[in-house]
């Protein structure tokens, strides 16, 4: 090989593995509202749920709330068994463990970025467990707990954060769409999908996740409007975790988010997002309503992002520790544990086994991530088009020739 070739080629083939480090209270409303036997064609849907204040079924101390105003929702969990309650708890514990492992993996350089769900376990597990197998879920990029409920292997979620793909799973395997980075875009996809369900005459429903920041996006408002106009069976699930990176709710909205729904013509409900039982109940209410043909609903899960927006973020620059301390007292996992213990639904054996299962999950995640191979270089040109494209073919051939020139340069 020539000297110039030798000097040039290895320089770009040094194999730097860039993973990227970017990175009102209202009075109790009439229980009959929103439950009348409306058909999908109804244009004047009820716009209020049975209750419009913060729906809570478990206090932070783990005590059952038996308020009559919440009865309309509570009936959806009236028959919940101790086994199901333990299941919710297990889901939350394992999701938090997975999330902690992913955060650690980012710190160790195994992931380029991670968006933690710490603090939002109840909002995600409660709503995720309310979905039926044939329902369809449209997440943001933080719905690791919902993915868990849908049966998506959590390690599948890590590929895009490691930088080996931009999505990576088959959305139709678990009816769990790919993560969406552009804020609020998926609310429209969810609505369109729900419109398709109506056209098909099916009785499943769609749930679209987004955050408080996304509520400012035009796409979310457009989705609300399309869903209302077409009476689409979609539940909009807003996890109001109080912060859109460094922007507080005050910078997003001048009215409580759940009240937005009324202006579009469907009910909005604010639920205690740290109360898995209440979230499960309210989400079941909304999904079943949608399946019956009564159209969309908005759920505002009032919760708190206990960690940073992503691992690139520094919350100490924009919020006080005392805020976090106040929310830690409302921890969703601790709350359910207290209830399980006081109701004698779980014993030490259960918690011990779960701890061991948790550790095993962390270990598996760690091993899988570390073994996750880089994609083949030619993956650049894969799946750009379903039907092919001459320019992609041409550039793939150029790339192949270029790669082959290394082998020639090295005399292989």
């Amino acid at each position: 090989m020539t000297e110039s070739t030798a000097a040039r080629k290895p320089r770009r083939s040094a194999g730097s593995k860039a993973t990227g480090t970017t990175g009102t209270k209202a009075g109790a409303a009439a229980a009959k509202a929103g439950t009348a036997g409306a058909k999908r064609t109804t244009r004047t849907a009820a716009t209020k749920g049975p209750a419009t204040e913060l729906v809570q079924l478990l206090t932070p101390e783990g005590e059952r709330v038996e308020t009559a105003a919440y009865a309309e929702y509570a009936q959806y969990v009236a028959g919940i068994t101790p086994d199901e309650l333990r299941g919710l708890y297990r889901d939350m514990v394992l999701t938090r463990r997975f999330d902690a492992e992913a955060t650690a993996l980012q710190r160790q350089g195994e992931l380029g970025l991670w968006a933690s769900l710490l603090g939002q376990e109840a909002a995600q597990i409660g709503s995720g467990r309310a979905t039926r197998e044939d329902d369809y879920v449209f997440p943001t990029y933080r719905e690791h707990g919902v993915a868990w409920c849908r049966g998506v292997d959590p390690t599948n979620l890590l590929g895009m954060f490691r930088g080996v793909n931009n999505g990576g799973w088959d959305p139709n395997s678990n009816n769990f769409h790919l993560y969406t980075i552009v804020i609020g875009s998926q609310a429209l996809h969810a609505t369109g999908y729900a419109m398709g369900i109506t056209k098909d005459g099916a009785d499943s429903a769609v749930i679209a996740y987004f955050g408080d920041g996304a509520s400012s996006q035009g796409d979310v408002s457009e989705a609300f409007n399309f869903a209302a106009v077409y009476n689409a069976p979609v539940v909009f699930f807003c996890q109001n975790n109080q912060w859109a990176i460094s922007e507080s709710n005050e910078k997003q909205t001048r009215v409580p988010l759940y009240q937005r729904a009324q202006g579009f013509g469907f009910p909005g409900v604010r639920v205690d997002g740290n109360d898995a039982l209440a979230v499960l109940a309210v989400t079941r209410w909304a999904l079943e309503r949608a399946r019956r043909g009564e159209g969309p609903a908005l759920i505002e899960a009032y919760t708190y992002r206990m960690g940073a927006h992503t691992t690139s973020d520094d919350p100490s620059r924009y919020r006080h520790d005392d805020e976090r301390v106040a929310w830690e007292a409302k921890d969703p996992i601790l709350r359910l544990r207290r209830f399980l213990e006081s109701a004698h639904h779980a014993d030490e054996g259960f918690f011990g086994e779960l701890e061991a299962e948790s550790e095993a999950l962390g270990k598996r995640v760690r091993e899988v991530v570390r073994a996750m191979p880089d994609p083949d270089r030619f993956a650049i040109f894969e799946n750009v088009y379903a039907d092919g494209h001459a320019l992609v073919d041409e550039e793939r051939a150029q790339f192949a020739a270029y790669q082959a020139s290394f082998a020639e340069a090295e005399g292989v």
Binding site: N165, N166, G167, G168, W169, D170, P171, N172, H177, L178, T180, V182, S185, A187, L188, H189, A190, T191, G192, Y193, A194, M195, G196, I197, K199, D200, G218, D219, E222, A223, N225, F226, V229, E382, N383, V384, Y385, A386, D387, H389, A390, L391, V392
Partner: protein
């Protein structure tokens, strides 16, 4: 059959042959679209198949993506070229990339119809040619028919494609008539077509400018010059093989489009053809198109748009080398 009618007939055929095909957009129902391209379709196929939407372009494309995920094949109408930008985010960040992000598991058979280009005396945002902005995005196919037969067949192919297709309709040619054979066997969607054979220079155009280039070739013939005219038909991908073959014969190339010349599709064609045909070229590839200025008010749009003289002037400059 007029070009607009040809699209209408093509949409009708698609609605008849595939129950998953949907038409969506503002005013596409009772009104039949502001250009009547969807005239009569809602009457015959119902509001569930031909859907009048809220006035929200991002919403139209975003929900079309959801419907495609559910197995439908939406054909959406953006009312005018300049109104596509509220939907640009959905088209570029979502529609174009969904197939790749799902590692090929998800298909996005969505057609976005955009009446484009000037020459009809419209107010602002009703006469633009933004095709290069879409052609630059991997994952999208961008096409533009120039005549009724292509309008008919390219729409059939666009709807059948599992990829998103941006289908630019030359609105100033909507009323031009030509034969359409619904039994024909069309060539591939991406293939360019030699409209007129010639030996002295190649004129390459698409959409509204093909007719102008044919007129230019007629005028040049009177001066004893033999111009070959290519209808590119597809802007992404470009059928460079056909352009190359023509240039190797004529040794000169002028690309004509209404869009601004700077970083327009003509720039890409000039660069690629220079690479492919450097030793065949007798002159640099020249471009005729719009200026780097907002599309002007209608009273002076004729100064902005390529016309016969500007094309012939470029022909003269090329032949002078």
């Amino acid at each position: 059959m007029a070009l607009a009618k040809a699209i209408n007939e093509s949409l009708r055929r698609a609605l008849e042959s595939d129950p998953k095909v949907l038409i969506m957009g503002e005013d596409v129902g009772k009104l039949g679209g502001v250009f009547r391209v969807t005239d009569g379709l809602q009457k015959d196929f119902g509001e569930d198949r031909v859907i009048d939407t809220p006035l929200a372009e991002s919403g139209i494309v975003g929900t079309a993506i959801g419907l495609a995920l559910r197995g439908y094949r939406p054909v959406v109408e953006i009312q005018f070229d300049g109104f596509v930008f509220p939907a640009y985010d959905q088209i570029v960040t979502q529609l174009a990339k969904m197939h790749a992000r799902s590692l090929g598991k998800v298909k996005m058979p969505v057609v976005i119809r955009i009446p484009y280009g000037g020459g009809i005396g419209a107010v602002e945002h009703h006469s633009e040619s933004p095709e290069a902005l879409f052609a630059h995005v991997a994952g999208l196919k961008v096409v533009s028919p120039s005549n009724s037969a292509d309008a008919y067949w390219m729409m059939q192919q666009a709807i059948q494609s599992d990829d998103p297709v941006i289908y630019f309709e030359p609105k100033r040619r909507y009323w031009d008539k030509a034969e359409v054979d619904p039994e024909a066997i069309p060539g591939p969607l991406h293939a360019a077509r030699v409209v007129r054979e010639g030996t002295d220079l190649t004129l390459a155009a698409y959409g509204p400018m093909v007719k102008l280039c044919q007129e230019a070739a007629d005028a040049a013939a009177e001066e004893g010059r033999s111009l070959e005219v290519l209808d590119l038909r597809s802007i992404s991908p470009v059928d460079f093989d056909t352009v190359q073959a023509s240039v190797e014969k004529t040794r000169r190339l002028v690309v004509v489009h209404e869009a601004p010349v700077f970083l327009g599709s003509g720039a890409e064609i000039a660069a690629r053809i220079t690479e492919r045909c450097f030793y065949h070229l007798e002159a640099p590839v020249l471009r005729v198109g719009g200026y780097h200025a907002p599309y002007p008010p209608a009273r002076i749009e004729e100064d902005y748009l390529p016309d016969l003289d500007r094309v012939l002037d470029a022909v003269d400059r090329s032949l002078a080398y």
